[in-house]
Symmetry: C2
Subunit: 196 residues, 2 copies
Amino acid sequence: MTDGVVERSRPRDRILETARDMFHKHGIKGVGVDAITEAAGTNKMTLYRHFESKDELIVECLRATACKAGAMWDAFEAEYPGDKLAQLHAWVRKAADMLNADGRGCDMANAAAELTEPDHPARRVIKELKEAQREHLVALCRGAGIGQAELLADTLSLLLEGARVSVQTVGAEGPSAQFVRMAEGLILSFRGSAAI
Amino acid sequence: MTDGVVERSRPRDRILETARDMFHKHGIKGVGVDAITEAAGTNKMTLYRHFESKDELIVECLRATACKAGAMWDAFEAEYPGDKLAQLHAWVRKAADMLNADGRGCDMANAAAELTEPDHPARRVIKELKEAQREHLVALCRGAGIGQAELLADTLSLLLEGARVSVQTVGAEGPSAQFVRMAEGLILSFRGSAAI
DNA sequence: TCTGGAAGTTACAGACCGGTAACACCCTAG
DNA sequence: CTAGGGTGTTACCGGTCTGTAACTTCCAGA
């Protein structure tokens, strides 16, 4: 009902997009395949013709999310070509936007909280995306001429990760409201210390 | 099987403790009441004589977790009476211990990720605990004579929150490995800026 | 126009879920 | 000894879950 996204496209795409949306809103274990197919305007058989199991659907959803996240870095480069520091600030703004977008945290982190089996196929995707994100951020910091680029990148990573769960637990008026201030302060402070 | 904690005590206590353990390890939606009672060495009827629903059991588990977390602050005061700065450093060490304890994050944050209904009774408990934690940390920072105590407390909060989910997604060798360094650096840096 | 594959439909299997009823048991307080 | 409350046991309810079988319908390309 409220979970639309039923525009006419290929069933597989509709299922994937609908599942992504519903997993995000209601959690993975909180949504059944029947509900997904119904919201996607199709049926269970069609889902199982395109995905061999719910687990594979989950993995494919997370992969799609990772793909969209990857495009973000290209957008920064397109907007501020070569200016890594400007891109870093753009990342901060983008992160703040995500915080205010809705009360749900990061899909990857939420999935990791729900899928507790240590060898669940989704954990691989999650880890890969998080490591890719970290490397992108390190590259930005390094490119901006910041000494201790790894430490700043890791600190900013944890700060954002924490802010996203904080929004989910205490709301957007909690500690996460200060995210931009914290991040900008950290960048400034790290720029102060000598770059090698 | 692997989820023991069946020492002979009152059934209600065993159920509560076993549920806490299993929710922590396997997630809330990943554990059924049958599995809990069996691991607690009792049966479903006894559970439902003490808790009127699974939701109430969840709430009671989170309350117990909140209670244990509350005791932590008293332990700091007992160990370093009056010395708020030492207590703040003790908090950092304690936080680092929690990071290395196991690969699962904060029970409250994980519960918030799973229980998506905005009016779920557990969300109240979660929010209350997180707000209490924040106030305790602010009090420590303020007591340690730090200007911008709220900002430091919020930053440290987000950092720990982020570190706990990072452990869950990329493991203990990821960004969270630098948590102590980040936290100590922040405290030092905030102590540098004038108190008032 | 014919045909083959993709998609929809209905029904079902088998397991598990939260929750309850009815009844037998034991152990302790009086 | 006895009464009664806490506990254990068994069986069950209705619902939902993932996943499948068998069949029909639709539609695009040759």
